[in-house]
């Protein structure tokens, strides 16, 4: 068992943080890589990009939004309990180098994935502007951590309950217009990444996005996570999860994410009835 040593609820209980004992993975993982978690014998294998690692303590941190049966099941796990299986680190790490000014854009739980990448880019000597957003103030996560990890932080909420009122892309546009931005990293819901990439393309600024398609093994064996990148089929688990944002077929990705929509609803519905 992989024990949970710390658990936090965020965004009104819709987002959960788990710090998990996994010394082999913690010692190996680099920003941008993911793990696969399986709660119990009958559970699904769920890929989550790591939000943090602590090689000394031998722990990794994942932050996930409760969206279905498997994440709802994860939510029931308390400190001292744990996951039956944790596999990783998987995927390619983020390529971190000093390029100058970098903008890191995060939406929703994507901010959790963005956090270690932001920190690494700053540590590499970049001027890192972070822009994070959520639907409202209550759903915003990791503001303090992102402030510490970046050079400057901008916060947006869709409803204006905190920070800039509007989408992260609006603040991003301002940055692209006024600064010599060399790289943009955008991680969040697929529509957000799509619009971030569309905008940076206009400014011709290199953009990285991190994709999280449906996946089983995470080692390139099943091809379930295939995404179309510049017209070519790639496996997010081994070729990614990060890709050139300008090459991703976001509409195809969004469709493929709906593959098991009905089954997920059925499974989640039953679980919610049994665990009110």
């Amino acid at each position: 068992m992989f024990k949970i040593v710390k658990r936090e609820e965020m965004a009104g209980g819709t987002v959960i943080l788990n710090e998990i004992e996994a010394p082999l993975i913690a010692g190996k993982a680099k920003p941008g890589q993911f793990v696969i978690l399986k709660a119990n014998e009958t559970g699904e294998r769920i890929p989550l990009t790591m939000a943090d690692t602590d090689p000394q303590k031998g722990t990794i941190t994942v932050i996930y939004m409760v969206v279905g049966k498997s994440t709802a099941l994860f939510k029931t796990l308390k400190v001292g309990e744990g996951y039956k299986d944790v596999i990783g680190p998987l995927g390619k790490p983020t390529h971190v180098e000093k390029v100058g000014t970098v903008v890191c854009v995060g939406g929703g739980t994507g901010v959790a994935v963005l956090h270690p990448i932001t920190r690494a880019l700053k540590e590499a000597g970049n001027h890192v502007i972070a822009i994070i957003g959520a639907r409202n103030k209550g759903l915003l996560i990791l503001e303090e951590q992102m402030k510490a990890a970046s050079t400057e932080l901008h916060v947006c909420t869709d409803d204006g309950s905190y920070g800039h009122k509007g989408f992260v892309t609006e603040v991003l546009k301002k940055m692209l217009e006024t600064k010599d931005v060399k790289l943009v990293v955008g991680i969040g819901p697929v529509p957000m990444m799509k619009f971030v990439s569309k905008m940076t393309k206009e400014f011709n600024v290199k953009t990285l996005v991190s994709l999280n398609p449906i996946m089983i093994d995470g080692t390139g064996m099943c091809g379930g996570c295939r995404v179309s990148i510049g017209g070519e089929t790639k496996f997010a688990c081994v070729d990614g999860p990060e890709f050139d944002g300008h090459q991703v077929d976001y509409d195809g990705l969004m469709q493929r994410l709906q593959a098991y929509c009905d089954e997920e609803k059925e499974c989640y519905g039953t679980f919610c009835k049994l665990n009110p």
């Binding site: 009958t42 089983i216 080692t219 390139g220 099943c222 593959a259």
Partner: protein, 473 residues
């Protein structure tokens, strides 16, 4: 008539004993094993058909040279435990091989009895002896040599890895098996369906190895969690790489990323390893197609087609671009598939997949083929027939046209030389790779083959590793 000939004539009079099976119309909707096994009586009767040849062709025909007349003789005499023990001397997974080996082209293919009538049912007898011992045996462990103090890491817990582990633990070495998945067994667990190889059998074989001292570490992705060099730094003296092929092949035709087009690897892994056939009791879902198409005609294709039927399909079609003669699947699998109502569309190849506005598959465009001159594989090359385009409706397509070499481990180990298709180059006699202290075998060397060939490679590598640990590279 001489006495010998009388004996022979009598043996020939006993017909090949059929193994009872679930009726096709029943089994096509459940995941229970299809053949239910011999009784001791039928096994003894079948064993009596063996001529006990002095120069047995069957042993030559077996990739791991099981003493076939020997174990059959034990069965004939009612000593089933003795039969199982003899099998184990050459084959650490007899319950598996009895079920999945292509006997018709190996041992049974060269059986003398088969020259005139039907060959001795060697596979069925092997299965019987192994099952009998697993269920009734005392679980007595095979003899083990004194500890050598040497440590071996086996990467992958499929048939070749398990063979290496079983052989080397018996020779007194410390063996740790590293498995990337959360459960051991490799293709025996994620690939071969429950109705052909109950998973309980695989887990019991693995548990038996653990009892003998083999250590098992699941969730260990070599190439990611740990590299080969790190294994040596941890104190391992030798490493065996038996990771399987592990890369799905797609058709590279338009529409392949539509929802409902799955690699056989994905489809079978969901169904078998993740037990999606028990959804929602198990959390992993699977596409339950009504009109299912399986592309390809190997064992994996048959497994996929029969799984789809069991998941409630109205019809399942095997679509294959060559003819019946070239179908690579085991005869028994094709036969079982046909009995279960799988349809065969031969000399047919898809040219594109068609989908709806939600990105789900609705059908495919196909071409009829005819056979031309033999190609590099020696099989007649399929050539499209002009103007033969037609449309086939479907809501699930499973692509089972072979596998490639998964680069995860090899990419992280530059000293391993690969051939141009990405498979590891290893000496066919010893399994030695181009990196000192590293052996490889099974599908990651040969490309997709059979369980028994992978086990044969494991056997050779285990011998070579043992020699290395004693005498050096």
């Amino acid at each position: 008539m001489a006495e010998e000939e009388v004996k022979k004539a009598k043996k020939e009079a006993i017909p090949r004993q059929k193994m009872p099976e679930q009726a096709p119309e029943v089994r096509r909707r459940n995941f229970k094993e299809v053949p239910t096994g011999y009784t001791p009586e039928t096994a003894i009767l079948e064993a009596q058909r063996c001529l006990q040849c002095k120069k047995p062709g069957c042993v030559e025909g077996c990739p791991v040279q099981v003493d076939i007349p020997g174990f059959i003789n034990h069965i004939k005499e009612g000593d089933f435990t003795g039969a199982a023990r003899l099998l184990w001397q050459k084959n650490s997974l007899p319950a598996v091989c009895g079920r999945v080996c292509p006997q018709e082209v190996q041992c049974e293919g060269v059986c003398i009895v088969g020259k005139k009538g039907q060959p001795v049912a060697i596979g069925n007898l092997e299965r019987f002896a192994a099952d009998y011992e697993r269920i009734n045996g005392k679980g007595e462990l095979p003899p083990k040599a004194p500890p050598t103090g040497k440590k071996i890491a086996v990467v992958g817990s499929g048939p070749s890895g398990l063979t290496v582990a079983g052989d080397l633990i018996a020779k007194g070495h410390e063996v740790t098996v590293l498995e990337a998945f959360h459960k051991p067994g490799g293709v025996l667990v994620y690939g071969i369906p429950e109705f052909r190889l109950p998973k309980e059998i695989v887990f019991s074989e693995v548990a038996f190895m653990e009892k003998q001292g083999v250590k098992l570490e699941c969730n260990s992705v070599v190439g990611r969690t740990v590299t080969l060099d790190e294994l040596f730094a941890q104190g391992y003296d030798a490493v065996y790489v038996g990771v399987g092929a592990g890369l799905p092949t797609f058709m590279n035709i338009p529409g392949e990323n539509l929802i409902g087009v799955l690699s056989a690897n994905e489809y079978l892994t969901r169904a078998n390893l993740m037990k999606a056939y028990l959804f929602p009791e198990y959390d992993t879902p699977i596409v339950k197609g009504k009109n299912v198409v399986v592309l390809g005609a190997g064992n994996v294709a048959m497994d996929s087609a029969r799984t789809a039927m069991r998941l409630g399909a109205d019809n399942v079609k095997i679509v294959y671009r060559r003819s019946r003669q070239e179908m690579p699947a085991r005869a028994a699998e094709i036969h079982h598939a046909e009995e279960e109502g799988i349809e065969f569309f031969l000399l047919t190849a898809p040219t594109r997949f068609l989908g709806d506005e939600k990105g789900r598959i609705t059908g495919m465009e196909c071409l009829k083929m005819e056979l031309g001159e033999p190609d590099q594989s020696g099989r007649r090359r399929p050539i499209p027939v002009k103007g033969s385009e037609f449309k086939m409706d479907c809501d699930l397509v499973i692509v089972a046209v072979g596998a490639g070499a998964n680069p995860l481990l090899t990419q992280s180990t530059p000293e391993l030389s690969l051939n141009k298709r990405g498979y590891i180059i290893a000496d066919p006699e010893t399994g030695k790779t181009t990196k000192k202290g590293v052996w490889a075998g099974g599908d990651i060397v040969t490309g997709s083959a059979t369980v028994i060939l992978a086990m044969g490679a494991g056997r050779k590598a285990a011998d070579s590793i043992h020699n290395y640990l004693k005498w050096g590279w």
